[in-house]
Point group: C3
């Protein structure tokens, strides 16, 4: 989502990446200054594979961490580093997230990260979860989830951080913030994102009962935007992306920013004064 949001994220949320970053010549954070522009956004690692098509400006990020793309601290760190690299690359305007695994998009937070760990380690883990969400939600790129399998809990959150959600039309695949069923409480910002997507009452029922929705039911309440046959999830995302990229970037980004400000205020109170000023300025400068 929007630029101003993303920039301001530097103030409040140094997160897992802060130690790695130095300031680039653009005044933005940069993970490593020695990446060459050509290669840096086509990376492969044990957990995540990124392909950027420079002709379209669209990157596909494939999660490939068997058995179920669990969101461990390692996974999240790698995910965020890749996101940040793409964000820095001005040739990249759109991002599609999908999975290489059969039947699963992501099974969500790695429960082992919360079991028998020190409070410090737990805190580090939750910071990384929040970092993932903020980087997705605050991205300047158009972000789409190509959900080609089940996507419970943290997997659902990842989808909710994107601008658009396309899911495989398979009733055996399910999606939802089902943390409550496991005795875990979804934090404030999980809730905010869900309410903004499906409305208050559906979110209420969903969270209190920890509901998982089949793909068709998820479409019905608006948790995903579109269902397509399983083998067309990625291609549909690519087609849809080209329509989104036809919209002037700066207006779309500021719109996203205007819409997301409410959520953002809740999560970064007190808001860095620079951030409020930037939003005001950008709105005013476009309006007048």
């Amino acid at each position: 989502m929007a630029n101003v949001l993303r920039n301001s994220a530097k103030f409040g949320f140094s997160g897992v990446l802060s130690q790695l970053s130095i300031h680039s010549r653009h005044g933005r954070e940069c993970v490593s200054p020695c990446f060459s522009l050509q290669q840096r956004n086509n990376s492969t690692s044990p957990k995540i594979k990124v392909d950027l098509d420079s002709s379209t400006g669209v990157a596909v990020l494939r999660m490939q961490s068997p058995p179920v793309n669990s969101l461990s601290l390692d996974f999240l760190t790698e995910f965020c580093i890749n996101l940040e690299k793409l964000e820095m690359d001005r040739s990249c305007r759109g991002l599609i997230i999908t999975s290489t695994l059969s039947k699963v998009f992501s099974a969500g937070l790695d429960i082992m990260e919360m079991y028998g760990k020190s409070p410090e380690r737990c805190g580090e883990f939750w910071k990384a979860v929040q970092e993932m969400w903020l980087k997705l939600y605050g991205s300047n790129m158009v972000t789409m989830a190509a959900i080609n399998g089940s996507s419970p809990a943290g997997g659902c959150l990842m989808s909710l951080g994107c601008d658009y959600r396309i899911m495989a039309d398979n009733p055996r695949y399910s999606i939802g913030l089902n943390e409550t069923q496991l005795g875990i409480v979804a934090p404030f910002w999980f809730k905010d994102t869900l309410v903004n997507t499906v409305g208050n009452r559906a979110a209420e029922l969903s969270l209190e009962l920890g509901l998982l929705y089949s793909a068709p039911d998820a479409l019905k309440i608006g948790l995903v935007d579109q269902l397509v046959p399983e083998d067309q999830v990625l291609s549909t995302a690519q087609d849809t992306m080209s329509k989104w990229l036809a919209v002037p970037d700066h207006a779309r980004q500021i719109d996203q920013c205007v819409i997301s400000v409410c959520i953002y205020y809740i999560n970064t109170s007190p808001l860095p004064p620079d951030h409020a000023r930037q939003i005001d300025q950008c709105v005013i400068s476009v309006c007048i």
Copy 2:
């Protein structure tokens, strides 16, 4: 709904029950210290009958005040006392509210309480209305309205304070916040509850025109969650309750609390500092 909400209610809303209460050994308010655990939650009065099934942990509260279960000051006081007793009883986890009268759940606020009365008496009455809503909305129990008849105005508000609403599938039964038709303005918190349930636009039309919805129309806009044949309203509520009670209590309660905080802030400004801290703590302690 949630525990933290309920406890904090002690700060801001002493209401009709404050004179009756002393502190029990659990540090909670208790209406009377001499109730025995076995009998105290199966009570019968002229207006309200409560049956607690200790094997399931589910209480059924039957309103039986002819002709139309009007919410008078007396009725509300009795209603709140019963609610508080159930809330104190750790064996009670679920509450179903229904009516013994034919064709009516509750006709809402007793209009005679607002006609030709002193401001003090009016204030006392409205405090009791608010107390009813806060006790329901802030309850730790799973609360369900088994709406086996018409339920205008205050009767609708009572239903909206519950976690789930099942209504008799009879188009002659109606429900809605129709105060405007009577020249009465629904207070802020009536509006908040309605918006949270049916969304802003439906609430807007509903309140500005004082609309009453037939049971099928109420289902369509989400004012009730489910319609069933009239003779199955209570049994369906009991079946549904058992599904809700299968969800871990503490996670569901905190989820409810997280969701309801927005409404609550509006109604208790300034929020007792202890309350904010308790919510923060519970969210943090579960997350980390």
Copy 3:
């Protein structure tokens, strides 16, 4: 919409009309003290024609500025003056806005007002846009848009400021806040109004992509309330108006005010203390 809102508009938003106004004998603003009661609300100008039927208390405001009822500074000023005159006239309780042009309600803001103009002139123009919205949204009258043609951007905003929207059932007519497509960002308050009408997610997609909806699609997401054959748009508005006017004015107005307060707070921070007090008083005085 509501009275208290309208009155308070005097504090924060002096706008284009402030130089013209003096205080009338009712303590309200009055554009000109020499208008006679009989004639002042049946006016014709190059751009706008107003007919008030004193038997029903309903005025019809016809926009007649070819080719497409563009909202120029001149048009908006005239529009606001007419609105203010009707608002002052106690015999006028309802307002229907429609167009005399074929196929178009209003094409929205006059883009020439934002191109190559000084910042001062731009500021003046945007103040007039905001004034239009505030006068409509804060009106005491029941306001209805009889949308007998396409209504993009500012034309859609004008409709959203009304209490009810009836549109011609013609799939070639479109409506929506499509500013983003033009590289223009819809201000905060455009967004707020849209979210309140169609919900957050539909507003998000709508604004980020700058979507225009055909009449049937607009009905589907709730952007308009009703579709009728093109030749029945005005008559249906008149029928619907008579139902709205059957509701007690003061309760409906305060309901509107209670609902709109959230939007209003956002747009007038800090809120004039008198305004907050007035709302509190009116709610309290009706409740107790």
